[in-house]
Structure formats: structure tokens, C-alpha cells
Symmetry: C2
Subunit: 356 residues, 2 copies
Amino acid sequence: MSRISLEERKQKVLQIVIHHYIRTGKPVGSETIIEKNKLEVSPATVRNILAALEREGYLTHPHTSSGRVPTDKGYRFYVDSLMQLQQLTQEEEQRIEKEYESQRGALDSVMQETSKMLSMLSHYTGFVLTPSPAVDHLKRLELVKLDRDRILAVLVTDAGLIRHKIMEIDQDVNSTELVSINRLLNKNVYGISVNDIGAEIFKRLQQEKNKQIKYVNIMEKLVQQAFALDEEGELYLEGASNILSQPDFADYDKVRNIFKVIDEKKMLCELLEEKVGHEGTKVIIGEETPCKELQECSIVTSTYRAGDRTLGALGIIGPKRMEYSKMIALVDYFSKLINKTLSRPAKELKREPRKK
Amino acid sequence: MSRISLEERKQKVLQIVIHHYIRTGKPVGSETIIEKNKLEVSPATVRNILAALEREGYLTHPHTSSGRVPTDKGYRFYVDSLMQLQQLTQEEEQRIEKEYESQRGALDSVMQETSKMLSMLSHYTGFVLTPSPAVDHLKRLELVKLDRDRILAVLVTDAGLIRHKIMEIDQDVNSTELVSINRLLNKNVYGISVNDIGAEIFKRLQQEKNKQIKYVNIMEKLVQQAFALDEEGELYLEGASNILSQPDFADYDKVRNIFKVIDEKKMLCELLEEKVGHEGTKVIIGEETPCKELQECSIVTSTYRAGDRTLGALGIIGPKRMEYSKMIALVDYFSKLINKTLSRPAKELKREPRKK
DNA sequence: AATTAGCACTCTAGGTAATAGAGTGCTAAT
DNA sequence: ATTAGCACTCTATTACCTAGAGTGCTAATT
């Protein structure tokens, strides 16, 4: 009587299993499937379908006499084709927006706040990877004298990142000299990516070669030390303890491994920086991750950008059995929100010369 | 035949029990005590002593037929009276010293590195609480114009902390004006604690009242925004996952609670800031902590200072069953090391006028 | 040819029982 | 005051049982 084609029904069953499993965490049996979803077929039929789905790799058995559980492939298909995207509730959106209003500070603190909120709203672990300053463009560069032999360099990037670095110098510079170096630099520095800045400064220095050797010397130091930002971006990570609340992670060894990765943020940074290239919200499910300690997890991540440059990544880490539809919506929302936030100061900047 | 007085022998037994328990984690029985320590008494005698120690509250039974385990009171007595302080091995000291050499950067990164090393060497969780900038004295203050309506204030404190804050202003200031404000401030600002700076600037401003109103306005903003450093110090915390490797924390609920506290650094900050007043290395054992989630832990902490001002705290968090003697030595060593590091730049500063 | 009823089979989770071993506490002897 | 001796208690491990959940297969049904 049902007009559903075989393939369609298969998908429906798969969808029911995954959905149910995500909610309950218990393997799903044939009877349950029928009960909850008024399918007009017998358990036996469902069992056949389940067996087929298992043969094709979308489901497994923990053991002979238990219900089905999704495999990574199953989740993947669900995320790609079966799941329908949710929207955040208005209440949630308001809550986020409100928190953002009060947080009109430096970029770093916005990012930190964002990772906290991601964690809070998802009940998983939230993270934000700030841009490696190297990728970003330079907006201001300030040199401040600390002692006889140390200068503080403060970099402000286009996106609003602020980084500082202490340089050691071997010849004294008085503050007047410093001011003119500073002025010289700021004339030459604007809008260049931090990466290219060393080369660029030297090039421009050629043209102004009538300057004193001392300056050149300082500049060299500057390039060597201040812009040798080996760092990858900062990783803000919040709500790690949420992992422990997940019944999926009852196994001690698994949890320990996950925490080891989270603890050493470096690994995660690398993993995420790979993703920074890609546009849009992505889901990494279980073994799809390059990092084997996270094979029991899924990661939902997106990127953010200012104008055309992709700057960083953000997202959540949780168990494979997560509410993907909701999480994707959440991460997506934050990604867009940050994009909006980042494009705001740029506008004000352009207004400046006119006003003056 | 043994000339040991009763009390002395009791202490010896207590010491053996705790020592052994710290090493093995297994309850200690009467036979074990004799075996390992060539005491010339019978098991029965030892049992009597154990019973007495238990009556007095230094030991307990997990259950009737198991050996003894120290109570918090037992550990406390051990730490205060029984334990003999260890020294770090030369190898360890060298390893630390070497790591420090390469890390000659800003204070924050030194602190972060320190917490990492504390964690690595202890195999527990290491932390460093940086000074609340409010406590520290101001060394330099730099204002950098970002946009038409935003100024970046960079604070450098005496100890080497660097903090920045973005201020929003409602009237335009051109860079020349900013430079003179800056100069004015730096003349007045040196050596004052960040806490008192608001009042102080206003006071001095009175004296120079022949300045423009605009300046006063900016100053006000400055005081309101840049020095409203509500923050407590930063807390660097590393090696949280080490907690999971401790067999003592096999209980899931306990661990979850501990992690919740660690995750929300705020609670820990408060706990530690209380301790900042006190001098020297302190041990907090189990229920001695004000924070009930940490009742299964012990904390070894010390403070560090520059000159006479205590600035921050550092230490480790581990299970109650920890090698106190070693841990105390470790924390102590780092405390002294940081003290030394902090007093170094001050010296160089004094050398300056002479050299010139 | 797809669906279904029926049934044997498998595996888990939970409970009970039995046993060995560790360590105590007490009593009476030294 | 110390100790030998012994009964006692509790744990940890193993083995075994049972109920229940859910499957997979075969043969009957539509």
C-alpha cells in the first residue's frame, strides 16, 4: 500500500535508527523502529532492511543480539543527505546577540567569549582558533622602549588582533630616535600581510637609503624578532569538562586520549589550520579525522573571514552521537556573527579620512 | 632492646605507612610494615600501634580486613613533621634551567612555560597565577590610535606584564595630540600601583591645569576604561589530563567535579589569591581546601615576588596521595627561580644611566 | 518476488554462590 | 609490654545460572 520505493524506505529506516540512537544512546532494534514511527511493515521486514544497511556499511552490531548502531559511514550519509538543518530558536539567538553586545572589546576577548558560548550552548567543547597573525594584514606597529636593551613591539592587525613581542637590541636608542623609526615604519607598513613584511620593509628601506645606519640596524632586529611569529594562531578552548559528562565517553582510556589532545592544543591547531582553507561549515566524523585520538569524536567546524581573507576557524568537539542538525546550525550562526563583527570596524576605518 | 620510645615508634610506623601508601596506592598491612623496614617487633605489636594511630585519627580502614590508609590528618602530620624535604636532582635542575634560558621573552610567556614545566615534572597539573595588574606598579603606558573612535592603551608593569585594552572615545584626537597626552602621562605614571593610578592622575592633573579640556576628557576615559582592570590575574594551567592518569581518580564523578573546577578557572583564582598573602610554600590537603570539589586533591603552592611585593602564585594540583617531599621541593624551586628572573630586569634598569 | 510468521540461536546484564586470601582484633600466654 | 594463635570479616575472583533482547534463517503467505 505504501508508495515508498525500496531505496527510499531504506533511507527512512536509516534515518530513524540514527535519529533514535542520537537521542537515546541505546542500540536500536527492529521493534522500536516500528513502534515509534508507525511504519506499516513487520519487524521481519525491518530486520531485512537493517541487515542490508549493515551489509552496505551504514550500521553495525555491538554484538549479535543487540540493536543497530550507526557507523561513521552511516553518520556521514545522515549528515550529508538525510538530516534536515535546524534553526536556532529565537530565544537562543537573542541570548547570543545580547552577550555579544556587552562584549565590544579587543578581538581576543571576543574570541574567548565565543568559545565559551559555543561550549555552553552545545554542552560540548567549544573552540575558536584566532588567525595566525602572519596571515593577517598589519594596521599599526608601535615600538615602546622598556629598558636600555629591550623594546616592546606592539602589532595591531587589520582584523583587530593585538600581539606583542619583546625585542632585545644591542645598541641604545633614545626615545626621539624611536619615534622617528616608528613613524617611518608606520608609513610603510599599512596593509601588508605580516608574512611579507620583512621583505617589504627592506625593499622600501632601499628607497630611503639616506637614513642612518643605526635605523637599518634596528629594523633588521625588528624583522628578525618581532615578525618571526612562529606561532600559529591562539586556540581558545572551553568546556573540556563537558566531555566527561558524555555517557559515550564512559571508557577511561578513550577519555584520557581525548584530553591529551585537548591539553596539547598544538595538535588541534594543526588539524584546524588545514580546514581554514575551506569555506562553510564542515563536519568531521570519527575516523575521518587525521588525529587518531579523536576517532571517537566528531568535530563541527566553520571558518570566519574579514572581507575576502579567511582568518580563522571555530566550532565544537563532541561525541559522534551528537545532534548534528542543531550543532551545525549553532556553529554556522557563530561563524556568520563573527563575520559581521569583523566587517564592522573596517567600515569605520574608511570613513576616517573623509571626516578629517 | 630498641631504645625507641613509644611515641617515637608510633611516628615511625605512621611514617612508614604513609610512605608506602604514597608509593603503592595499596592499603598497608602490619606484615608489610615489618618486612620492608626490618623493625624488630612482631606483627601483633604493629597492629596495636596501628589501632592506636587509627583511634587518634591519623589512619583509617577502607574496610575491616584491609590495611591502613592515611587520613587528611595523617598526611598533614606527615607533611609538617615526618617528611624530610627532598632536593631536586641535578639533572632536573639543569633541565629546568636550560628551558629557562631559551625563554627570555615577555613575562606572560615565561609564566605559561613555567606552568607547563611544573606539570611535566610533577606529572600532575601545574599552574601559575600571574599578578593581577592592579597590584603591580606601572612602568610604561602607551596610547595608540586605531580608528577615529578607538584608542589602544598598552600597559607595561614593573614586573614585565603587558596588558592592552581598547578604549572608545567620542571625540577625535589627532596623533600629535595623542603623543603629548602620552608624554604627559608617562611623566606622571611611573612607579604607581595600577590600583591607585586613577586617583593619582587626577591629582597631578590638577597641578597642570593649564592644559586643554580635551586632554582632561581623554584622561577621564582612560581612567574609566583602561584601568578598570576588573580582571584577576591570568591563570595558566597545564596538564589537566594528567589528573586522568592518576589511579586515585578512577571514580568518574570525582574526576568530573575536579575538572569542572579546573575548567572554570575563576574558582581556582579566588582560592589562590587568598594564598598570595602568605610567604613560602604551603600544602593544602584534602578537606582543608575551601572548595569542596577539590577535597580529593592536594595542592602545593608557593608565591613569587619582585622585591618586596608578592605578585602571584604557582604550584601543582594532584591527588592526596602524592610525593609531597618531591613536590614541595619542585614548587619551591620554581618559586625561587621566578623570583630571580623577576629581579633581573630591575638590575639592568639601574645600570642604564651609568653606562650612558 | 516481496513480505511475514515462527523459531532457534546468541549474547548481555544481572544475580547468586563458592572459594581463596588478606588482614584484622581479641585473648591468653610469655 | 609484647607476642603467638586463632576466629572472624570483608574483598575479589570465578563460575554458573537465568531472563530478556534481538537477531538470522527458513518456510509459509500474499
